[in-house]
Symmetry: C2
Subunit: 151 residues, 2 copies
């Protein structure tokens, strides 16, 4: 059965959506860093060992991008797509390491209609990304623009 499209009215505080899993290899960490965050602790094992991170660590923006991929591939399918307007908070309590397996859980914190954009509203989610030991590697509180059900 295809995953249903979720309209604003389908979201309610407390709902949780869980993603699949995604394994992060050292090569992917270095490839992302070479493009977007070319600092030694994201690129080179020896330099990383001598750094604040004590070993190769993914860029936080890589972790954020992987989290987006987990959400897009999940059953959480708002009408019109996953369109993030803004985040209230974004933190990385722990680095992502080579071989980590990530999964994300999105919990609905609030739902409200938009005043400026009729037929739309905002759903506030806390999205927690964790590694294979259940340790959070990223927590973001994200506000998505979601279409109301057509009348």
């Amino acid at each position: 059965m295809p995953t249903p499209t979720l309209y604003l009215e389908d979201f309610a505080v407390g709902q949780r959506y869980r993603s699949g899993r995604l394994r992060v290899e050292a090569a992917a960490i270095k490839e992302f860093a070479a493009a977007f965050d070319p600092q030694p602790f994201h690129l080179d094992d020896a330099a990383a060992a001598a750094s604040f991170f004590h070993g190769l660590a993914a860029s936080g923006w890589h972790t954020a991008s992987l989290t987006m991929r987990l959400l897009v591939d999940s059953e959480m399918r708002p009408a019109g797509g996953i369109i993030g307007g803004w985040a209230d908070e974004l933190k990385w309590p722990r680095a992502v390491r080579p071989g980590d397996e990530l999964e994300a859980e999105a919990e609905v914190l609030a739902v409200r209609a938009s005043e400026s954009r009729p037929g739309h509203g905002f759903v506030k989610f806390r999205v927690t990304t964790q590694n294979q030991r259940g340790e959070p590697v990223q927590i973001v509180v994200m506000n998505l623009l979601v279409a109301a059900r057509p009348t």
Copy 2:
């Protein structure tokens, strides 16, 4: 002359650091999206034209990642690297479009010593990324961990 390393004591409220420029091509928007945010409005021109975005738009996480690249390549060189602990706020007031040229400006909002981590502190920056028309495409308030000058 090499860019000097900046210690916690070198940062002061009101300082501004400006990045270079970086042009975003349609191919790069689609490549990032294919890896991390595979939604039609980031991948396909026709689907994007019919979407909320009315045309191809970069993923917000792509904009965030490009902003990190601009900062890493800038003169803003904290001791130990650019290590983001958390963001208080992250917003995308406007989409990034093919052909846009981005630049970022980081303004120091606060500087404080860390209580739990002797010899380190936090510098809070507002980083504004703008396109070639001077329109903001991303605003993030980011807290970086910075080493104090060795005594």
